[in-house]
């Protein structure tokens, strides 16, 4: 029984974080603040997600940071040059997966 209760609460907490923006939007519909924020938040969110995704890379261990660094550079270079989202993701992660499975 406790398990079900915990799972319901966990879902509820997640739903809350996803639905709060809707109510914020209603509450501040006459205010420009949210509209202004919504234009700059995506870029800032992606920055946050990048740090979030790379937080476990250990700078003290070459076998941890080198594959991540090399692949990240490839992703950045392809994205910047070609603006091809899918290509940069697949080439970058292909290189990463190859290195960590066959070279380290």
């Amino acid at each position: 029984m406790t398990t079900i209760w915990i799972v319901v609460l966990a879902s509820l907490a997640t739903v809350l974080t996803r639905i709060i923006p809707y109510f914020l939007g209603k509450r501040f519909s006459k205010n420009r603040i949210l509209d202004d924020l919504s234009k700059v938040l995506p870029t800032a969110s992606f920055a946050l997600l990048v740090v979030y995704a790379f937080q476990d890379v250990s700078l003290g261990s070459v076998s941890s940071y080198l594959p991540a660094l090399v692949s990240a550079i490839v992703v950045v270079a392809i994205s910047w040059k070609t603006e091809n989202f899918l290509l940069s993701i697949f080439v970058g992660s292909g290189i990463y997966i190859f290195i960590v499975n066959f070279m380290v």
């Binding site: 398990t3 209760w5 915990i6 799972v7 609460l9 966990a10 879902s11 907490a13 997640t14 739903v15 974080t17 996803r18 639905i19 709060i20 923006p21 809707y22 914020l24 939007g25 603040i33 949210l34 509209d35 202004d36 924020l37 919504s38 700059v40 938040l41 995506p42 870029t43 800032a44 969110s45 992606f46 920055a47 946050l48 997600l49 990048v50 740090v51 979030y52 995704a53 937080q55 594959p67 991540a68 692949s71 990240a72 992703v75 950045v76 392809i78 994205s79 910047w80 603006e83 989202f85 899918l86 940069s88 993701i89 970058g92 992660s93 990463y96 997966i97 290195i99 960590v100 499975n101």
Partner: protein, 228 residues
């Protein structure tokens, strides 16, 4: 049809990542003795990867339900940024908006925002196709992992990098546009400083810092315009 094909194409990295990470999740749930029904319902109704993995730990650690509620709230707080960014668009979606809000993961948000100027596709359908495809992959992976987990003999390391690459590429594409660079710099610097200060609990702190600086910056920009 064109719209569906585009959504399917754009979801490919997430397809690979969610199915394999979902398999990992389903396997772990099964190893912890949870039922297939539980695995499936959590993936359907919570649908938040990092929170779901954390939840497995919470369940076996015997933390009280209310503490779990707040922990999950903190883990998922970053979703608030995504919803705020999507409000304008979701407003036009009628009753479908509820599904779109509730299925907005890190990855779905990243793909929707990165592909927001496309000709020849039905944007409303695109939002729905992409969101539901991504959820489908995650639920499919979870179920497969739960059922067949023990039969999968090999492990491919590093698949989670697909998601890191997704965020990194999205970030680069944003800051190619000059007027996004201040927001990008604020997001990057605040996040790194907060990670350094607060380690794995940095996200909520970073969010507060990011919003404060972004608002301050908007305010300054407006003041400059009005004094000119």
């Amino acid at each position: 049809m064109v719209t569906f094909r585009k959504a399917l194409m754009d979801s490919l990295p997430v397809m690979v990542a969610y199915i394999f990470l979902g398999i990992g999740y389903g396997m772990l749930m099964e190893q912890h003795g949870h039922s297939l029904l539980l695995t499936t319902s959590i993936s359907l109704f919570t649908f938040a990867g990092s929170a779901q993995f954390a939840l497995i730990g919470f369940l076996s650690a015997g933390i009280t339900p209310y503490a779990i509620f707040f922990l999950i709230l903190i883990i998922n707080a970053r979703h608030i940024f995504y919803g705020i960014s999507m409000n304008q668009e979701y407003k036009t979606m009628g009753k479908w908006k509820w599904y779109l809000y509730l299925s907005l993961t890190d990855e779905t948000f990243t793909i929707l925002k990165t592909n927001d100027h496309q000709e020849g596709i039905d944007r409303k359908k695109y939002l729905l196709f992409l969101s539901s495809l991504n959820q489908f992959y995650w639920v499919l992976g979870s179920v497969l992992g739960h059922l067949l987990g023990s039969l999968i003999p090999f492990e491919i390391k590093g698949l989670e990098f697909i998601l890191s690459a997704l965020f990194l590429s999205a970030f680069v594409l944003q800051i190619k546009k000059k007027n996004n660079r201040v927001a990008g710099a604020i997001g990057m610097v605040v996040s790194i400083v907060c990670l350094w200060l607060f380690q794995e609990n940095f996200v909520a702190f970073a969010m507060i810092g990011i919003v404060s600086l972004l608002l301050l910056n908007e305010f300054r920009a407006k003041k400059k315009v009005s004094t000119k």
